[in-house]
């Protein structure tokens, strides 16, 4: 690949790529994000490669292995152009039909189309599917259009034009001002204004400055940072280069979870390609600006998502946070001025530079601008990654984009912001999603996790789940977090075992208060949120566990019983065979009996019963 020595040369190269693209040539994009790959997308890709070669037409059809398209629920996804047709749940057996019918004869393979669960109607085009229709995919939209390991694809979609624009005629101050004007806020959780952070780093004294990309996406149920790095690594990289130029940094780091090997691989490939083309390294695009980036793999500690812990981890030490009397922007990595931003924040930068701060600041709400990518998961029909303008209501997100609750059950709560966030009840579903509104109800945007819960989810159990998570991940440096978390967890365990007392609820609030006030970092300060919000919005569930010794959701083992309905039981013997403790007895074709003494509440019988004869109370 040729090294570009000026922005003009880059533009010339881009034009040559665009001229070489035959827009009429059919193309197949197979989503190979984590969800689709786990559902068999790689087999679909090999089937395409094999069959296209067998038919001798591989040269006429462009096959792309892309990153995540977001609609994980319907994976493996295959997007075909021209026409932007989306095929869902594609298996290798379907590939021959797709080639013969759609690619060669331009006919639709009806059985692979998305079926609207509400209307029963089949939908052909990606953009008309309700899941995509209401989204505004500014950052995430290109994932489905490019091969993440091919820089030419990124260039053909306008990649690195923001960098060229900056180097051609914007001074660092102008870039900072533009980001300030856009009112972009950090997408990692706290929502700090990005432009201000850059400005303090720029003003801080020091010859050596750093920029860091936080890709230690540790919130369970969140995978948007991973999908961006896997599917569009150059976008994040371009944002970092622009940021480094603005604050005068010469070295950058990206801290990625070691559990994300493909993200590490694709981002490293992007680094190599950018270096080869003169977009990274010495004298970028012939300017006197030089900048390099190193990839650091995380060690699997949740607390390292916290900025000061992440910085100490890059320094090769254990990831313990420190007090932030002095911000990282002034004294960060090796005590030098450092800008640390989340993956999604960096990814927004090229867009703002290209399309202008004014355009960006028109999207969203008064305080929260732009779009946010959420991982919509849990008991929702359309699990996936969605990008929406800030300010959309939870109801629209869950019921329109998300397609409502699994198996038509009743919505109970939605948990946002991961282990540091809270559970929001049905009464607040019209809440517009932004940093302030979510904080007002005791939750947060966080890094964009959104877990939907239904009537079969126990809110006390959920609180216990999050607390056991944060307690396990507490680094142990400060007492409130280390001890407070453990005691709260003990109380919650007691309650879910049916041994709780009413005064436990007061005690939970008291410990929460101490943790919020006195913990060293956000992990401890925010850890009580799931407990406090469930206590506030679902007090009756706690009381049912404490007073009536009942778990209405049928989750807490010590408080439930599995029952066989003699009316519905056909005596088929499936549950009897499945029971690991031999608690079920009964002759063939006679009603089966469950001995509560021997039952370990594993729920196997309920799972295998074909006649809905087993219930939980």
């Amino acid at each position: 690949m040729m090294k570009m020595t000026s922005p003009a040369e880059l533009e010339k190269y881009r034009s040559s790529i665009l001229e070489g693209i035959d827009s009429g040539r059919p193309s197949v994009s197979v989503c190979c994000g984590t969800g689709c790959s786990a559902s068999g997308a790689l087999e679909v890709v090999s089937a395409f490669e094999r069959l296209l070669e067998e038919k001798g037409i591989q040269a006429n059809i462009n096959t792309k292995i892309t990153g995540c398209h977001g609609f994980c629920e319907q994976g493996p996804l295959v997007l075909l152009s021209p026409g932007n047709r989306l095929y869902c749940k594609v298996t290798e057996e379907d590939v021959d039909d797709i080639i013969e019918e759609t690619l060669l004869a331009n006919r639709v393979v009806e059985r692979l189309l998305f079926v609207d669960p509400v209307t029963g109607e089949k939908i052909e085009k990606e953009e008309e599917i309700p899941f995509y229709k209401k989204q505004l995919r500014l950052i995430f939209g290109d994932n489905g259009k490019m091969v993440p390991t091919d820089i030419r694809d990124y260039l053909s979609l306008g990649g690195y034009s923001a960098l060229a624009k900056v180097l051609k005629g914007m001074g660092p101050q102008e870039v900072i001002q533009e980001i300030k004007n856009s009112r972009l806020r950090g997408r990692g959780g706290a929502g700090f204004p990005t432009g201000l952070k850059w400005e303090s780093c720029d003003k801080a004294e020091g010859d050596i400055k750093y920029v860091i990309c936080n890709a230690d996406e540790g919130d369970p149920g969140c995978f948007q940072d991973r999908s961006l790095l896997e599917g569009n690594p150059h976008l994040v990289l371009e944002g970092m280069i622009i940021g480094a130029y603005a604050v005068g940094a010469s070295q950058g780091y990206i801290y990625v979870r070691n559990e994300y090997p493909l993200a590490v691989k694709n981002f490293s490939t992007a680094l190599e390609q950018a270096r080869e083309m003169g977009l990274l390294g010495e004298n970028i695009l012939g300017s006197d600006f030089s900048f390099n980036i190193k990839v650091v793999r995380g060690g699997g500690a949740f607390v390292c998502g916290e900025s000061s812990a992440l910085i100490t981890s890059i320094e090769g030490r254990i990831g313990e946070p420190r007090y932030k009397f002095v911000h990282a922007a002034e004294k960060g990595l090796w005590d030098r001025p450092t800008v640390l931003n989340n993956v999604k924040t960096w990814a927004a930068v090229p867009l703002i530079i290209n399309r202008g701060a004014e355009w960006f600041s028109e999207i969203g709400t008064e305080q929260s601008k732009g779009t946010m990518i959420f991982s919509l998961t849990g008991k929702v029909n359309n699990t996936g990654l969605v990008e929406v303008p800030m300010g959309i209501s939870l109801r629209e997100l869950i019921f329109e984009i998300g397609g409502g609750i699994l198996e038509g059950r009743k919505f109970k709560a939605v948990q946002t912001g991961g282990p540091s966030g809270g559970c929001i009840p049905e009464g607040l579903l019209n809440l517009p999603l932004d940093f302030e509104k979510l904080a007002e109800v005791g939750s947060m945007v966080g890094s964009g996790g959104m877990i939907v819960m239904d009537e079969t989810t126990c809110m006390v159990d959920v609180a216990k789940y999050f607390l056991s998570f944060t307690q396990e991940e507490s680094c142990g440096k400060c007492v409130p977090c280390r001890e407070g978390g453990e005691h709260m967890l003990k109380i919650l365990e007691r309650i879910t075992r049916g041994e709780g007392e009413e005064r436990d609820l007061e005690l939970l609030k008291e410990i929460s208060d101490t943790m919020q006030c006195a913990s060293l970092c956000a992990l401890g300060k925010l850890a009580p949120n799931p407990v406090l919000t469930t206590l506030k919005y679902f007090p009756e569930e706690y009381l049912a566990h404490i007073k009536d010794k009942k778990c209405s959701a049928g989750v807490c083992k010590e408080l439930i019983e599995y029952l066989i309905d003699p009316e519905a039981c056909t005596g088929c013997g499936r549950c009897l065979k499945a029971c690991p403790t031999g608690a079920i007895s009964g002759e063939k074709e006679a009603v089966h009996i469950l001995d509560q003494e021997q039952c370990i509440k594993c729920g196997n019988c309920m799972e295998v019963c074909r006649f809905d004869a087993v219930s939980v109370e």
Partner: protein, 159 residues
């Protein structure tokens, strides 16, 4: 136990000039041996002239490191929130009952190691587990039974 220190030497060489790279160095060693053998850590500490306590503090702080050898097959049960609300605890119970070990342990015959992981980012398929790097989604206890028994059969046939 004797380990091939040749491999360790090449890893040490790779990070010779990198003052921050202790974690990466341990990660590479861990990838090579599938755990961190004590004698290797001691050897590395002498070679790079860093106190052994420093390396052990890293090895015990970060959850991706193991100080005990892992079993032949690794079963990682996803305990992410989406999987949790879809019944992951029951799935974990099933795995641990079936293999008769606790999470984090290895069976006596060294065939299986069971671990819990926080989230593998395939939430649409929850509850799920990762078996030797392969994802098994929309789990039921029945599927787990088959999966763990199936691997028994295969191994019995091959041995």
């Amino acid at each position: 136990m004797t380990v091939d220190l040749e491999k360790v030497n090449s890893i040490i060489e790779k990070y010779r000039d990198d003052r921050e790279a202790f974690i990466a160095l341990l990660q590479d060693i861990s990838a090579e041996y599938r755990y961190l053998p004590e004698e290797v850590i001691r050897y590395v500490s002498e070679e790079i002239e860093v106190p052994v306590s420093r390396l052990f503090s890293l090895a015990t702080f970060y959850t991706s490191f193991r100080l005990e050898p892992r079993g032949e097959h690794e079963v990682q049960v996803c305990m992410g929130t989406a999987c949790h609300v879809r019944g992951a605890p029951r799935m974990l119970d099933k795995v641990t009952q079936k293999l008769n070990i606790k999470p984090g342990e290895t069976t006596e015959d060294k065939r299986f190691t069971v671990e819990t992981v926080n989230c593998v980012g395939a939430c649409a398929l929850g509850p799920l587990l990762v078996y030797d790097g392969k994802y098994y989604g929309k789990l039921t206890q029945w599927k787990i039974e088959k999966l763990l028994e199936g691997s028994n059969d295969e191994d019995d046939q091959s041995s």
